[in-house]
Amino acid sequence: MTSFLARRRRVAATVAAAAAVLVGVSACSSSSGSKTVRLVAYSVPKPAYDALAAAFGKTSAGKGVDVKGSYGPSGAQSKAVLGGQKADYVSFSVEPDLNALVKAGKVAGDWNTGPTKGLVTKSVVVIVVKKGNPLGIKGWDDLIKPGVKIVTPVPSTSGSAKWNILAAYEHTIAEGGTPAQASEYLKQFFAHVVSRAQSGSQATQQFLSGTGNVLISYENEAIAARQAGKPVDYVVPEQSVLIENPAAVTKSANKSAKAFLSYVESEAGQEIFVSKGFRPALAGAKIGTVAGANDPANPFPTPAKLITVESLGGWSKVNDEFFGDKGISTTLEKA
């Protein structure tokens, strides 16, 4: 009888110990080895980073390196890293999300002094439509016609949203309009928005699932959708904004992460980005044919009027002006 009980007690104790060990192990399993790169990025470049990680693994610097990616809305990811999520390599949609990390001391201040000025990809804002462009959308002004339902994410979490709103507003100015007219356009634009997506890729998914009939997104996202065989077309409007996506390694990053960043910014890395529909950040990078682009042989046309954030005064100014508490976009959105 005693042995029976003793056995039972031992079993119970073992189970308890095992549970404790498991919890401990699971807590520890999240520790980084020097061969792990913790990548925290915005939502749309996931397929590109997956390809980059695979290719990097084949190089000598990348042998045996495990890239653990976390993807989500640019703003939310930035907030997560600020809140303590471990990150070695961060890649955001808009500069302010990276600057927040610099201000918090997680990223060195010289992140943008490299050959690509801290950027890893570029793109432009495009208008995505259902295959065949049934509504005949040709540009921004068509978007405020009756019956148009716009899908775009929310700027409170998404970087894509900020690019989109900027482009929507600035296109009027680029056409020769006044700020008042631009504000009026943006107000009507918002009136046509039907979605509440949190990230660029979520907006794409909503659009593909049947929400709305027009999606504003990155050119690379439109190309990615077409590469995935989705029935969409896209229009590069005459006026658009040059999208520039920054990336950097954190102060606590290991050697593998730094090597990964170098790879991403190198010719080889940039070519992979290009194949996924991104415009390269490295000057002189080779642009071959890009499947899924409107014209695969000439995948990255330059819009007639390409607006840069630099010309608007830089992201700090723009972020406040548009998305601050009293920002243009913030006020108009609530109207």
Binding site: G72, G75, A76, K79, T157, R196, T211
Partner: protein, 294 residues
Amino acid sequence: MSVTAPETRAAAVAGGWGTPRRRRGRVREGLPLGGFSGTSLGLVVLWVSLLVLLPLAAVVGKAFGSGWGDFWSAITNRENRDALVLTVALAVGVALVNAVMGTVIAWVLVRERFRGSAVLEFVIDIPFALPTVVAGLVMLALYGQDSPIDVNLYGSRIGMFVALLFVTLPFAVRTVQPVLIDLDRDKEQAAASLGASPPVVFRRIVLPQLMPAMSSGAALAFARALGEYGSLVFISSAIPYHTEFASVIIYGKLQEQGDAPTQQASALATVLLLASALVLVLLDLLQRRMARHG
């Protein structure tokens, strides 16, 4: 006296809620909580209770953290208010449908033996065991854009309603079923022998006895539907003022930078918690009153 299988399932599913006090040698005695065993048990339970209570307290605390004014504006803001109204309306609708259909199904399972009732029993448990994300995609497969039967409920409130019916199916059935099983047939037979027709027998004799179980099943369905996320988020397009519901707003706010969104999320969460609590407390009171009268 043995515990029957559906009862166990019911208890597990319904969490023992509202299973009316039954006639089971009701000596509510027990050992005093002293000694090693009692204390250690108590400690275990205490620790885990803290896991539940403290975080929930934190939610309420955060909601009111910056004062009543912020709380009020968070829930009366047009977008949030519309979402709350929709969420509650859907939950009430689902609760009512389940009260009726749950009883019908339980009746059929208990009173009508037919080939395939075992299958029915099994199928009813499926929504309870399915992960919510699975339920969500299952709904989307049939009612979404690529539906093979050409029904597109994506982005519609009807689609959301159907998804909620799916996940709440087991609740009412499993609370009513054990009561039906244990029902004393004497009164029904007496009424029938006095000439009452079956519908009358049902309405005047059976239904009152089922009411506690029906209402507890409905209350559970309500509480579940109120907070549902995974199964709703795929079929709903979460369009503000139209198909946006409470938990999706809360989730969105958690992703936003800054502290105010978290406070607003907590405010909405508090409203949902209060609504569930209210319903369950009312239910308990109702049942105690019914037990006294029946």
